[in-house]
């Protein structure tokens, strides 16, 4: 226990440092989504003063090559481990500060686990999110709604019991667990 306490200062330092990095890195506005054929049409609708999707764009890459083991373990017990790049840093801070009431369930962790996982999420949060917004739900972001609107996906897909919820990425995105959402990996459940 005491040995673990020695780890706190670097963890806090990483969290503070990564906050600074996430701000300065939010510059690039190049989508480069060669895997997404419908990109031009749907994205122009979300265009705003602060970049694509009114500034609510997911990051690139969505998930770093090296992931934090504690994040992987703790955040994929009840659902898939959602990639850090799906939301901005401030969203992850809010999610991690409210784990005792996590979308209707108690998902509380101890202080050290919260610090370590928050640092990883903030450090790898979306680097293309320019809007001053921080939704708790990935499905509320403009980029998500634009990519999953009724032009792209028939409403019947959402009613399929195998899909159940728009939070269930892996129902169609076969590689969602590893942070990959390429068009060619999509398989709509029958």
């Amino acid at each position: 226990m005491l040995k673990n306490c020695k780890k706190f200062p670097p963890v806090i330092a990483v969290a503070v440092l990564s906050f600074a990095v996430s701000i300065s890195a939010a510059q690039a506005d190049d989508d480069g989504d060669e895997d997404y054929r419908g990109a031009g049409r749907s994205e122009s609708r979300g265009e705003g003063h602060s970049g694509k999707y009114g500034g609510e764009d997911r990051g690139k890459p969505l998930q770093p090559i090296q992931v934090n083991a504690k994040w992987k373990q703790e955040c994929s017990t009840c659902h898939i481990a959602y990639s850090p790049g799906l939301l901005p840093a401030e969203s992850w801070r809010k999610v991690m500060a409210g784990l005792d009431k996590h979308f209707g369930s108690d998902a509380s962790l101890d202080v050290q686990e919260i610090l370590e996982i928050t640092a990883f999420l903030v450090d790898n949060a979306s680097n293309r999110w320019h809007a001053p917004t921080a939704p708790l739900r990935i499905t509320e972001s403009t980029w998500f709604r634009s990519k999953h609107d009724s032009h792209e996906i028939s409403p019947s897909v959402w009613k399929n019991p195998k899909v159940k919820s728009p939070a269930n990425c892996a129902a169609c995105h076969t590689q969602a667990e590893s942070g990959s959402f390429r068009e060619r990996e999509i398989r709509m459940p029958k």
Binding site: C5, F103, G104
Partner: protein, 138 residues
């Protein structure tokens, strides 16, 4: 500041110290719960698998019971009521890893009791449920 924080973490850990500190068997865990119950409840009459089964299967005022995710058969694989993610069986007869990690046990009793009952579970309730789960055959 850091020292104060570390001391408070240690004090918190001491509060959970009734369970064995490292790897344990489910029977070690049950024995530790029994010892805690004897100390804290003067009228303690022992644990009951039958009472544990009832506790496990009924709702306690909220939307979910234990069975909402773990199913009526604790020896079967369950699935999360919201996400459908599979949950390994709860009965030690069907899953040798269950009730062997004290930190994990405390974590999940805290979370699940909060979801199902809106409160922490008593030592009596935890012991009853574990007695039931230990009695379930594969």
């Amino acid at each position: 500041m850091l020292r104060v924080f570390c001391v408070s973490v240690l004090m918190l850990a001491a509060g959970l110290a009734s369970l064995p500190a490292s790897a344990a068997s489910p029977n070690d865990v049950l024995a530790a719960l029994q010892s805690e119950a004897e100390k804290s409840a003067p009228n303690f009459q022992g644990f009951s698998a039958a009472r544990g089964e009832k506790f496990f299967k009924v709702k306690h005022g909220n939307e979910w019971s234990c069975t909402s995710c773990h199913t009526e058969n604790p020896a079967a694989t369950g699935k999360h009521a919201k996400t459908d993610k599979p949950i390994e069986p709860m009965a030690p007869s069907a899953n040798a890893e269950r009730f062997t990690n004290p930190k994990k046990i405390e974590k999940w009793f805290k979370r699940n009791c909060n979801d199902v009952l809106d409160r922490v579970c008593t030592v009596q309730e935890k012991g009853d449920v574990l007695s039931y789960l230990l009695a379930v055959k594969k």
